[in-house]
Symmetry: D3
């Protein structure tokens, strides 16, 4: 049996430390080793659309580059936003496996169920989830995409009405789709997954726990990550303007 316990670095690409704490709690529940949690210092406090994601990515990459340049060995990175912002760029930067919580959740859903329903925050983010389903080869296994129409920030609260609204949306999704499982479409919903699963009697999957577990699995096998093609390190060149300090002599 392998003895090394993996250190997984979870990066919250929004700037909400409250949300980071919730994510860390979930992550630690399933981790075999240590969880590092980083919060971005740039961009919005919640990601609810393409613009929000675009503005968050440099801050996410900044935290990852700091980690790569630092002294702590990390065995995998998890991007803790369901749109998996910056995933391809992060795979250029990192020397170890990187996953997004959407990718991880979709993969875990496919392991424990045949057809799952996605339940996310605002409807305007559904096209993002749908594109990822296609990209990860999971569109056929998704029975439907649904929004509970609560903003991301609502999930920083412990208010029962938040839980109730999400529960209702999950119930409606299961019935409308005749599906076998729920995939939660926001890292901020992570702490509610277990309670929802107990109530609904079907697997309720959260990408944070799925991602930490899957990255642990990748680490256990000992396979290196490919650094060829579009996963090769970024070319060395100066950056101008706001993120000059990330200029790549690093690569």
């Amino acid at each position: 049996m392998t003895s090394h316990t993996p250190t997984i670095c979870v990066i919250n690409p929004n700037t909400s430390t409250a949300m980071s704490e919730g994510i860390a709690t979930s992550a630690r529940r399933v981790a075999r080793g240590e969880i590092l949690i980083h919060t971005s210092r740039h961009g919005p406090a919640s990601l609810e659309g393409h613009f929000d994601e675009a503005m968050a990515v440099p801050g996410l990459l900044e935290r990852m580059i700091e980690t790569e340049r630092g002294d702590t060995r990390v065995d995998g990175y998890l991007i803790a936003c369901f749109g998996d912002p910056g995933l391809a760029a992060a795979r250029e930067v990192a020397s170890v496996p990187v996953m997004g919580v959407a990718e991880a959740g979709m993969q875990m859903a496919a392991m424990v169920a045949r057809r799952f329903s996605v339940v996310t925050t605002l409807a305007r983010t559904l096209p993002i989830a749908e594109r990822l389903l296609h990209e990860y080869g999971k569109r056929e296994q998704c029975a439907g995409l649904h929004a509970c129409e609560l903003p991301v920030a609502a999930f920083e609260s412990d208010d029962d009405s938040v839980y109730d609204t999400l529960l209702t949306a999950c119930r409606e999704a299961l019935e409308a789709d005749d599906s076998d499982a729920i995939l939660l479409g926001c890292a901020g919903m992570s702490e509610l997954a277990e309670r929802l699963g107990d109530t609904l009697g079907v697997p309720v999957i959260d990408g944070v726990t799925a991602g930490v577990a899957l990255l642990g699995a990748a680490s256990a096998t000992g396979y290196p990550v490919s650094k060829r093609g579009d996963r090769a390190a970024p070319l060395a060149k100066p950056l101008y303007g706001a993120f000059e300090h990330l200029s790549r002599s690093l690569s």
Copy 2:
């Protein structure tokens, strides 16, 4: 951190105990908990085509049903043949996650590389691998399918010429496909993966280690498996003829 260490039951659907031993060695290299290894008592000693797989599936299911009926708690099952024979039937039978080594290997390959080449035994099995790529949503990520034209049984030997033939096939696949990783298309190749990877300098993925690690990840999350739709337990009814003892009052 989770303290329960998962017990993974690996079932070799062919009747070769020599191959089972090799598979067990690989499995144990990455397992966090115990590995149970079962060998089928029915069918051919190697699976190299649709007929071979079809004749092997009842023996595979027999071993799984024995395990389900037994006293040892199991946290996941791995079907140790690259065609993933009987996977859908096994998911009806089992109460915990089931994976095939093709499914697991393809998923792991997608985590550590963008485009992988499959290198398997005989060319006549390539259509089986190709169908699975479609089924698991990974056809786009497979850069090519190749056969080394050694039979499965060859991989029970330690003969260097076997390793050399496989190495050559992997090299040719990487060059022909301009791919980023190799996925080995036979559980019997498992013990050669690490050496191949060291030599080739790219990830060489083996479904046995991938499957044990991924089932461990599924177990770590604590998600139940769905038992709805076509994953519900088989209907209770008598079986006639050779496998009467598997008649389902069990379900």
Copy 3:
């Protein structure tokens, strides 16, 4: 004009001789030549899921191998279960064309209508039908998949309520899908097809008659079947356990 009349061997992969009789009656209605009907001696009396199918396949292949080894020249084989169990394995074994009733029914439906609805027995078998639609390139032409929720065994009875339940399901499918034809999703429904068609005024297609007719067409052309790639005869090797007598010196 061709004078040879083809002999079609229909194999019922479940063990119900009552169902075999009904199937034979339908088959003979459209056959130009002789119909041989064989019933499996192993597995369940009805196939309603992946496990049932998996346990039925060796018995199906046993009957086919007996026929291949026998003295009666056969011009085509039809697998009389809508899941087309064992079709790929059967194509390795047989020296003449093999079809499944799902494949035949879907093909015939595409000849007489643009969009058809599938109406089958239990909902748990719908994923099997859906996979076959993809495999045979007919997913686009299927307007919807429906279950009447009667078990296969119900269709061994002449009870009018069985007919009525199926009729209602067909009516609902036509309306829900706005489709042009019905494809019956169980070989056991074969004898009801004509009456349903007369009542509904749309083509109601049954895979048994479709299959017998299409295999007759293949025979009429005189084309050999390909025995290359994954349709080559199984490799010669011993089988252990329950089906040792099918060990392949045959190939």
Copy 4:
């Protein structure tokens, strides 16, 4: 057993009666009943592109409408040009099944082989064949598309060099594609299919014989054709200009 022998009406959409004769010879070789052969009176003597096909379709429909208005009962129509020109329009006009030789050949190829190569006349017609493969759900089963670069008219001659050129193209296609069968991409090649098959040792499929056999199969089942949706009869309305005599009070 059914006693009615079907009458199949084969329509050659080009104006070459020499080609019609060859087609009729092939058709009669496999027909169980009578073959009617009609030749278009409008358009080019050979169809080698979109323009040729477009100009040929009204003449094809004219012959079909004449037949529908006539006294001879017909059990099916076959459009004897590999581009299947006018197929959808013909299905509006006809009260019985209609097939094109491309559709029929692709379907027959899928019955006797896993992967086939198409070998046609001029390369400029390959996009037409490729579109039909997609439309009929057979793209995955086509291993490659090839042109022998002889014009359609060449196949009206008995010249051995024509046979030799086609044979060479078939051999090259089988090798380049590693395929299991050949599908001939021109109705004019029909009479050469048997000799090519004997020489090459793989199924060499011709859409004319395939179509006659498949339409016979459709007739044997007794299923009506759907006349709903886009297969309903054309709306009654006047036609102006060249084809005024086809104005539809008929429908």
Copy 5:
């Protein structure tokens, strides 16, 4: 800035000059240069199915060949029927870009909205629209296909009830599909687009204006059209029967 203003030749493939006038009015509203409008002299006065389209294509090509043979330089052709009849043949004939109004409308819809609903005349034409969506790679962006069940001829009238019926169908489509825009599925609806858009508050796209604008864009770039493969000029050969005067010494 470019100074040449493009001349676009719009061909109405039905024989209704009333409809041609409406189309010309729309076309001129967006054109930077001159609009030539031609009406076919053969076939039906409205195209509502495959037969209608097939009978209209030779007349359409006749007008195009006359134009190609004439003295007026044309910078692009637009086929003004939503089924894009004869588009591939027209691209063989023409020396400049050719578009159909369905193609143009779908492309413009993709520029101004993410998901559009198609609203057309009679339901029997919906399969034609659906095939074009696939062919042009826009199926994913179409949220639904709907018919207002008014015949094409209705749109030659200024009757308010025609507008009202179409408006209602558009409203229902937007609601049923939760879509972002309407694409009108008939060239005859062109003059109503602007009023519908003002009322509905979403983009209401008409293929005539879209096509004139896009052909103007193609002309502005100065790119030649490819005349290779299936866009090469038709082979020179005689035509027999009704369209003998189009025999191709032209090519």
Copy 6:
């Protein structure tokens, strides 16, 4: 005829003003109205991978927001980098049509040719182009993707060896793919397109000119852009860190 001439705002998302000048020259060659050219102030001087694109997007959006907040009316935006970075985010921000040069080039290529080859800079960017082909529904029309292995910066020079290298790559692509046209995969290649086309005798398409022309077409029709779903304006919320000044009270 329409009299308003559209103002198109072209944004170069890299920081190279030299490249912006070349792009502006091309854009003005086909524009009917005014061209505004903006250069990003943040990120790398050339975009050659996911990281480069990710770091460039905020600077691109900054320029667009400045323009939206400014006094100059703009009729369309063109993102002048072949990866179309930030396109979805830009469509949230903008009130008029937005295109990327890859999207525009692929669309224009489909108008003037059946199958095109993409020729881009470094091979590491090919996966980006391939993803866009899928996203825009143009994968089937792309015959192949090729790299000339010159960096983006090389195209700022007038050196003949740069032209020669690109010409050779285009020639090889046409031959390898048997394609009908070339699509240049970098905005920096724009000024070379015309010369390449003259030399090669096939359409050589550049996304800058294509995009300016297509945005002009969209403007000519007068259709508004949809601001629903994932094209709605970003939610109003503060941005932290580097781009705080883009905080959205704007929306």
